[in-house]
């Protein structure tokens, strides 16, 4: 070190070496306190009165402040850190979603032992990496206070020993008397559970199993038996279909295997310059369903006329195929001729499906598919879907038997038929005649209220289990959290009642050792095989092996056609029942995320309602404005109920629609009293539940009602800077078809909006995040919305606040109907067409490079990141809402109230109680009242992955970071990535050229379909949309 004479000193005394200072220099703290300094010299009588007051004042203040109690927060550290659990680090486990008969293979994200998010497992060929809104939200159902904390007897908590003792003694009594025992369930897809149940049946004898599906497709299985001699629901492959015709089958929403359907369907809808082809989709239906909204051609038809339309299609195809035609009732179907022509031209590459649950109708559909040669391509009877095994014929027998006292013991296995079966009331009544009634549901519902004993099952995230959703495709479920309550797994209960002391885990492993292990040759050690299966979540020995083979059609179309002509009589007004994508059959109705998920088509939350056509609404004198509607009285036969009306463009004239899954009475705080229960309206035609009813009468004028919609303006008002669309024919001629290229007039002539700017631009050195959304692949389902809610701790605000237009969703799906009006007719453009074209546009923060929100915030709470993100600093926000006003996309959300720990918002389950809070993502702040929030492009995921890459000393790879919405999108409509990486999927997809020679970066998008919404205001969003392309013959695109 260099020698220097510099000297530092702390005070004049030190500099001068004052003797007084030197004396005390070695003492860091002064020994005396200057408290007595003001005293007169020579006065040695201790502290003065003043000092006393000073000290007292301090003490009192200090004591008073100390008394202000800070809230106690409990954090219990691990005494012994579990292996693999690192605080702050997420663990992922492959598992299975098993709920209400539905199945999806999932990857569970856990943090410190708490499952907090589900994502699709790409290794599964059944669910194909996709999830649905119900799968996404099911993680909150785990933390629902509504769950049973202990076994129940007569509505009171009891213990397992008591329950087992009583149940077994009654079972033995019944068995001794030769009484019959019924097991009622949704489709049972767990091989091991089936083994446990078989052992149970063996022990007690006389045990019968009845399977039902709340939205039944059992007619398909029956029709296949009649037509091909095999009673199965086949696998459908939409990805191989060039022409898809669906008769009232909402296959993207609830039909057979909707998750896979959606993924396969989207594959056929993606269009690129290199491969400018897509499927053509015809939909014939009464309600405007989510699937119908995606169709190229949609014909609105009363439900009673749909079977006739199928018969007519049969004739049209039969003529071509040279088969005998049948007598089909005349019915006018729009686009019928082109539908038949397209189908015939796409022989072997087409698919006709029908949602009508009537085997006679399904046989006609089978015949059509057979003539088209689809049974070796798009339909595979050799690979049955096992998630829809319901047998209604047998079930009807059970209900009859129950009411005649034929069943002494009834077990309900995780199902709620009292609510979601058309025979619900009869079952409830019949249960009184049974000696032993047991339900295994994990939470209170209408059925557990009607039985004596409840042996609550684990939630699927707490259990070991297996599944076989389709033959030879197995899956495992593993617990991701210890059971929260004193519950016991359903098959283990049956093992216990069979006096088998094996725990279900061992039982499951033994079962796999005996069966699945034998079906492979890769592993010779079971332990290794088991570990691999657990890791993958699936084991699919039959994958690709059960290929479709040629079938011989032995059905009788003429007989079926005669039945159709006889059974289906058109009525003035007909009711068509449906389920929504979110609530579905109502299994998870108590899940607020699903209740607040806007319906894909109506954009309504927290309600079901009668959808009526615009013309019928006019007749009833109902006009909807901002969700303001009216109640009507709906009468069908002897059933009368009051329901609100939703004016629905596209609703077939003379038909009305009503959603199932609502009107729960025993589901809990969130679901009870929301909407009306439409299950009693499900009619039985023969042995099959039919989701339509004729002879409906509607009386208007039952008072006002408000439906909470998140979007109340239905058309896009001819604004082609928002929605850009074209037809396939136009696109093939010109890939830029439908694109609007705005120009600004300047003194130098017309220039691109980019050329006129006040902005300095940005430079993104490391990453530049961007998103592309394919409006052709997006089917509007809304799974991404729920996924975003889960990932980002987005609060649920309840119906009243949605009515105030204050839902907090960071991501919404704008749904626009087309209008028949001319471009200049502004009031006409507000009216949707009678049968509109529908466009879905997911809309979230566009992360503008020239962000209008950033300039106006007075405190710089919203700023631009060095990676192109528009960031929100909650802690800095003072809540002026100026940014939200100045946002052209209106994607900012304000915390109008305190949504957490607030009794006013107790429906916000994930923030209102300690149990629910376990689902919160610890990486994302729960926002306080008075601050603004919005989509962050899942910045916590970006940072997480960046840190991971940094720790491993490697650059971030494409695909490592994705947003929650993109991850949950079964159709791959959302692509997210770094455009600084020229090889990334997004760079390739948008054909990006980035110019970084200048100080300011410019991005040129080469993809012709890609456009930025509101390009002319030059906010330069980081989200691009791909034009909507409809596979239509002519340019019929309307505003």
């Amino acid at each position: 070190m260099e020698k220097t004479n510099k000297r530092y000193w702390k005070g004049i005394e030190e500099l001068k070496n004052d003797p007084e200072f030197v004396k005390h220099a070695d003492k860091e703290f002064a020994e005396y306190l200057p408290i007595n300094e003001s005293k007169r010299a020579g006065d040695n009588e201790g502290p003065s009165r003043r000092d006393f007051l000073k000290m007292m004042g301090f003490s009192v203040t200090a004591a008073a402040l100390a008394a202000c109690e800070a809230p106690v927060r409990k954090a219990i550290p691990y005494l012994n850190k579990p292996v693999d659990v690192d605080p702050g680090k997420a663990n992922y486990y492959a598992s299975s979603f098993l709920l209400g008969g539905d199945y999806a293979s999932v990857v569970v994200k856990t943090r410190e032992g708490r499952p907090i998010k589900l994502e699709g497992n790409k290794l599964s060929s059944f669910s194909q990496g996709g999830v649905s809104a119900q799968v996404e939200s099911s993680v909150l159902s785990l933390y629902d206070k509504q769950r049973f904390t202990a076994p129940q007897k007569g509505g009171q908590n009891t213990d397992w020993a008591t329950l087992d003792k009583e149940v077994m003694s009654k079972l033995k009594e019944i068995s001794a008397q030769g009484g019959k025992i019924a097991l009622v369930s949704h489709s049972l897809i767990s091989p091991s559970t089936n083994k446990a149940l078989a052992a149970f049946a063996e022990k007690y004898g006389n045990v019968e199993t009845f399977v039902y599906d709340p939205v039944s497709v059992s007619a398909i299985a029956q029709a296949n038996e009649w037509a091909f001699g095999t009673k199965v629901v086949p696998t459908y492959d939409f990805s191989k279909a060039d022409v898809i015709v669906s008769f009232d089958a909402d296959f993207l929403n609830n039909w057979v295997n909707p998750i896979a359907n959606a993924a396969q369907y989207a594959e056929t809808r993606k269009v690129t310059k290199e491969n400018p082809t897509m499927s053509r989709h015809y939909q014939v239906e009464a309600n405007l369903s989510m699937t119908g909204a995606n169709a190229d051609y949609r014909a609105a038809l009363k439900p009673s006329q749909i079977p006739a339309a199928i018969a007519n299609l049969y004739n049209a195809i039969a003529k071509q195929a040279g088969r005998p035609t049948v007598n089909a009732p005349a019915v006018k179907v729009s686009y019928f001729d082109s539908m038949a022509k397209d189908l015939w031209n796409a022989k072997g590459k087409s698919l006709v499906v029908a949602g009508v649950n009537d085997p006679y109708v399904q046989v006609m559909v089978n015949a059509i598919n057979d003539m088209l040669g689809n049974y070796t391509t798009t339909i595979n009877l050799n690979q049955p879907v096992l998630t829809r095994q319901g047998d209604e014929k047998a079930f009807n027998g059970f209900v009859k038997g129950l009411n005649s006292g034929a069943y002494a013991g009834v077990f309900f296995l995780n199902c709620n038929p009292v609510y979601d079966n058309p025979h619900g009331t009869a079952i409830k009544a019949g249960l009184k005649k049974a000696k032993l009634t047991v339900a295994t549901s994990d939470r209170k519902d209408e059925t557990t209220d009607a039985v004596t004993y409840v042996a609550p099952d684990h939630h699927f995230l707490e259990q070991w289990n297996d599944a076989e959703p389709t033959t030879g495709h197995f899956a495992l479920a593993q617990p991701t959290i210890s059971p929260l309550f004193a519950t016991r797994q359903m098959p283990e209960s049956f093992l216990a009642w069979t006096e088998n002391k094996t725990d279900y885990y061992t039982f499951l492993q033994n079962s796999w050792k005996a069966d699945q292990f034998e079906q492979q040759s890769k592993f010779i050690d079971f332990g290794m095989f088991w570990d691999q299966c657990l890791h993958d979540g699936v084991f699919e020995p039959a994958k690709g092996k059960n290929a479709a083979t040629a079938v011989e059609f032995v059905g009788k179309p003429d007989v079926c056609a005669a039945r159709i002509a006889k059974n289906y009589k058109s009525a003035d007004v007909e009711l068509s029942l449906y389920t929504k994508f979110g609530i579905g059959t109502g299994v998870q109705a108590n899940n607020p995320w699903l209740q607040e998920l806007p319906d894909a088509v109506t954009k309504a939350t927290w309600d079901n309602y009668l959808t009526v056509s615009q013309s019928m609404a006019k007749e009833l004198g109902i006009e909807m404005f901002e969700g303001d509607s009216q109640m009507v009285e709906l009468t069908i036969g002897n059933q009368t109920m009051e329901v609100p009306v939703m004016v629905q463009p596209g609703q077939a004239k003379g038909s009305v629609g009503l959603a199932l899954g609502y009107g729960r009475t025993a589901a809990g705080r969130v679901a009870d009293g929301v909407g009306v229960d439409a299950n009693p309206l499900v009619a039985m035609v023969g042995d099959y539940s039919n989701f339509y009813a004729g002879g409906v009468s509607i009386k208007a004028g039952r008072g006002k009602y408000r439906i909470a919609q998140t979007q109340t303006h239905q058309t896009y008002m001819g604004r082609h800077n928002v929605i850009q669309e074209t037809t396939l024919g136009e696109y093939q001629k010109n890939p830029s078809a439908g694109r609007v290229q705005p120009e600004i007039v300047t003194a130098e002539g017309k220039v691109k909006p980019k050329a006129v700017t006040l902005w300095n631009g940005h430079q993104y050195e490391n990453h530049h995040w961007m998103m592309a959304i394919d409006m052709n692949a997006c089917n509007g389902c809304g799974t991404c919305v729920v996924s975003c809610n889960v990932e980002n701790n987005v609060p649920v605000v309840g119906k009243e606040e949605v009515l105030m237009r204050r839902e907090m969703h960071w991501l919404r799906i704008d749904r626009y109907y087309s209008s028949d009006a001319d471009a200049g007719d502004l009031s006409g453009l507000e009216e949707a067409s009678d049968n509109p074209e529908v466009t879905f546009q997911p809309m979230m923060c566009q992360h503008c490079n020239n962000a209008p929100c950033e300039t106006v915030c007075p405190v710089a709470a919203t700023t631009h990141s060095s990676e192109g993100l528009n960031q929100m600093t909650y802690n800095r926000c003072i809540g002026t809402r100026y940014c939200a006003n100045n946002c052209p996309y209106k994607v900012r959300r304000f915390n109008w109230f305190k949504y957490h720990d607030n009794t006013q918002f107790d429906m916000n389950l994930s923030m209102s109680n300690d149990l629910g809070k376990m689902v919160l993502n610890p990486d994302v702040t729960v926002r306080s009242r008075g601050v603004m929030e919005k989509c962050s492009f899942c910045v916590q995921r970006i940072q997480g992955s960046k840190l991971e890459a940094k720790r491993e000393g490697r650059p971030l790879e494409d695909g490592e970071v994705t947003t929650a919405c993109a991850a949950s999108c079964s159709t791959g409509a959302i692509v997210f990535g770094d455009i600084n990486d020229p090889k990334s999927q997004i760079s390739q997809m948008l054909k990006l050229k980035k110019d970084r020679t200048d100080k300011v970066e410019t991005v040129e998008v080469g993809e012709e379909r890609a456009y930025a919404v509101l390009e002319e205001i030059n906010v330069l969003p980081n989200v691009y949309y791909m034009t909507k392309i409809r596979n239509k013959n002519s340019k019929e695109v309307k505003a």
């Binding site: 007075p858 305190k898 002319e1016």
Partner: protein, 457 residues
């Protein structure tokens, strides 16, 4: 002594002497409060308390108590803010600009008008404060103060921040200007006071005013300087308030015409409010000789002028929307006229553009009743103008999916009532305890204007 034309109408009528002026003005301060006054202030305080409940609930539960939503983030709050700021324009304009232009007639009305300005700005300031989601930190963080957050500064690009500066500057200059003007009159009251408390209070307020020639010289100089300072502020405040909208991207907000248009509108509404209040004060305090019909007529001239400017601005906006060729902009203006808020638009047009045209008739200009009614109509119209600009622009902007309606709740109304309560409480307190007319300045125009001519008549 100033030279005035003998043909000029007298500014003070009734042959008032200098002593009369002192008597007429001071007696209001010195006498016991009248029953009418007691009633008025009780009603005002009651209104204030009712409104305070609404403010309290808003602060306690959140901004959600109001009717705002995801699309319309500002409605009554900023409407009322701009409305009150606009009202606060007349006082300073009258005292500063008219002083610079040597308009003598201003002397009898400037005191009350300035008081009104200050109270109106106080009321206006309530809205940007309470409308913040987190007012408890917002009122500090919105100021460019040194801090320990790693030197985190405010965003100097934000027009909201410019508002903070504009309003606070305007308020402080107006307050000082008003107070300086009050000092000589406080001196008079102090000198007449018999009650020792009054003497002490007014003595303190008059800051040792001696009435010496030197003091008067300083007084005149300060008044002129302050008038010079205040004049640009009259223009700048509403210009900056209009930047809140003009610098945004929202169709209907994003227009360069806003600054002059807002300033004209502010003077328009400010004069109307002055008229409303003056007509009442004049009647109750029997000040007909000081605030004459000529005063009222002059003020009506200003109203018809500014009203017509505002009308031209409305029409220009439409022209520019059409001329721009911007789809969203065109729709915003058509939507104003024919959309769901058509009634607000046409109320604005009727109140602001059509109603002041009645002042072309001298009989209307000089009619107390009609002037009073029209002055209120103008302020209703000006409220609607701000409502139309803020709410109808926001409620239907770029993406039709987000279009929404705004419905006020009782808490929106309550907060507005709160500011009325506050305004009138302050105004009545002022009318009782402060000299409502600038005695010193009125005395200066008494001789030159009224004496000789009144004698002739």
């Amino acid at each position: 002594m100033q030279v005035t034309s003998p043909v000029r109408e007298p500014l003070v009528t009734g042959g008032k002497t200098i002593h009369d002026v002192t008597e007429d003005v001071c007696s209001r301060v010195e006498q016991a409060p009248t029953k009418t006054w007691m009633l008025a202030i009780t009603a005002s305080i009651a209104l204030l308390l009712v409104g305070a409940y609404a403010v309290w609930r808003t602060l306690w539960d959140g901004i959600g108590m109001w009717g705002l939503n995801k699309t319309v983030g500002w409605a009554w709050d900023i409407t009322n803010f701009v409305w009150w700021v606009g009202i606060g324009h007349a006082g300073t304009l009258i005292s500063a600009v008219l002083l610079l232009f040597r308009q003598k007639w201003r002397t009898s009305i400037n005191r009350a008008a300035e008081a009104m300005t200050i109270f109106a700005v106080i009321c206006a300031a309530m809205f940007p404060l309470v409308h913040m989601g987190r007012v408890w930190i917002g009122f500090i963080w919105a100021l460019p103060l040194p801090n320990t957050f790693g030197s985190l500064w405010v965003n100097f690009n934000s027009p909201l921040l410019w508002d903070v500066f504009a309003i606070s500057t305007y308020f402080s200059v107006s307050l000082v200007f008003w107070y300086i003007g009050l000092i000589p009159d406080f001196g008079t009251i102090r000198d007449r006071a018999k009650n020792p408390i009054s003497k002490a209070v007014y003595g303190a307020l008059s800051m040792g005013w001696s009435g010496s020639a030197k003091a008067w010289m300083h007084y005149e100089a300060v008044s002129l300087i302050l008038a010079g300072l205040a004049t640009p502020l009259v223009l700048s405040v509403h210009t900056i308030v209009s930047f809140d909208f003009a610098t945004s991207v929202i169709p209907g907000w994003h227009t360069t015409i806003f600054p002059p248009y807002f300033v004209a509108g502010a003077i328009f509404s400010g004069f109307a409010m002055v008229l409303t209040l003056m007509l009442v004060t004049r009647k109750v305090y029997k000040l007909e000789d000081y605030i004459t019909l000529t005063h009222i007529e002059y003020m009506n001239y200003v109203i018809i002028t500014t009203g017509s400017i505002v009308g031209c601005a409305y029409i220009t906006e439409f022209f520019v929307a059409w001329y721009s060729g911007v789809e969203a902009e065109q729709y915003a203006f058509i939507n104003r006229m024919t959309g769901p808020y058509w009634w607000a638009y046409w109320s604005m047009m009727a109140c602001n553009v059509l109603s002041p045209q009645a002042f072309w008739f001298k009989r209307v200009r000089r009619s107390l009743v009609l002037t009073f009614i029209l002055s209120i109509i103008v302020n209703i119209g000006m409220w609607f103008e701000r409502f139309v600009i803020i709410v109808t622009s926001l409620h239907r902007d770029f993406l039709p999916s987000s279009w929404a309606m705004f419905y006020p709740t009782m808490y929106d109304v309550g907060f507005y009532l709160f500011t009325f309560g506050l305004f009138f409480t302050l105004f009545f307190a002022f009318a009782k305890f402060f000299p409502v007319i600038n005695m010193a300045e009125v005395k200066s125009v008494l001789k030159s204007s009224s004496g000789e001519i009144a004698d002739k008549k």
